[in-house]
Symmetry: C2
Subunit: 120 residues, 2 copies
């Protein structure tokens, strides 16, 4: 076993102690990574993805979305609540009906990235 091998395999405690302490310093704080995961978790449900996709094209009221996706209005409303809390959609009231739309262009970009990854 030569010197290089010895460096790589370490002595017993850890396999690559230098690498570990080096990477440890560059890690963003716990909370940010948690928030990041939480953001992606929102996109990680096909009902929500469909809602966002549908809102790509136009603002829409709850019952429109419900019919488009052939789901109950309640289910859609629950998911819109999640999307609202994550600031991914916004809404405006017009009489009895409430129109939802995408909050900003990041949604488009993020979903676009996902599409690109799939089409390979």
């Amino acid at each position: 076993m030569d010197e290089q091998e010895r460096m790589e395999q370490g002595t017993g405690e850890t396999l690559h102690p230098d690498l570990i302490s080096s990477v440890n310093q560059d890690m963003p704080d716990e909370e940010m990574l948690y928030d990041l995961a939480e953001l992606f978790r929102i996109f990680g449900d096909s009902t929500r993805i469909k809602i966002l996709y549908v809102l790509f094209e136009a603002e829409m009221c709850v019952c429109d979305i419900a019919e488009l996706l052939r789901m109950t209005q309640s289910a859609i409303s629950h998911q819109l609540r999640v999307l609202k809390q994550s600031k991914l959609v916004k809404f405006r009231r017009e009489g009895k009906t409430i129109y939802y739309s995408l909050a900003d262009d990041h949604v488009r970009t993020i979903i676009g990235m996902g599409m690109e990854h799939l089409c390979e």
Copy 2:
């Protein structure tokens, strides 16, 4: 109910029928949207996000990652399996140890997009 009522759209049928049929035609097929959601679901867990983040910096073996994240090697292995199946990480064997690394640059881009959305 009579015919006149039916024609007048007051029957509770739909709020915006034209919009619905228009958007309906532009919808990608069900399966693609499902796959898209599934891709994002992978990013939607903080353990997996941390693993990916750590692999930004260097290829690493399972026990390194486990120590960096202060988690059991088993938990890490289970998650690496998920990431492997989604083609987000790749690996190579070198003796007893297995080195994992990012499969391609899409991972970086997608996570980057998420970061951008958060920092607003």
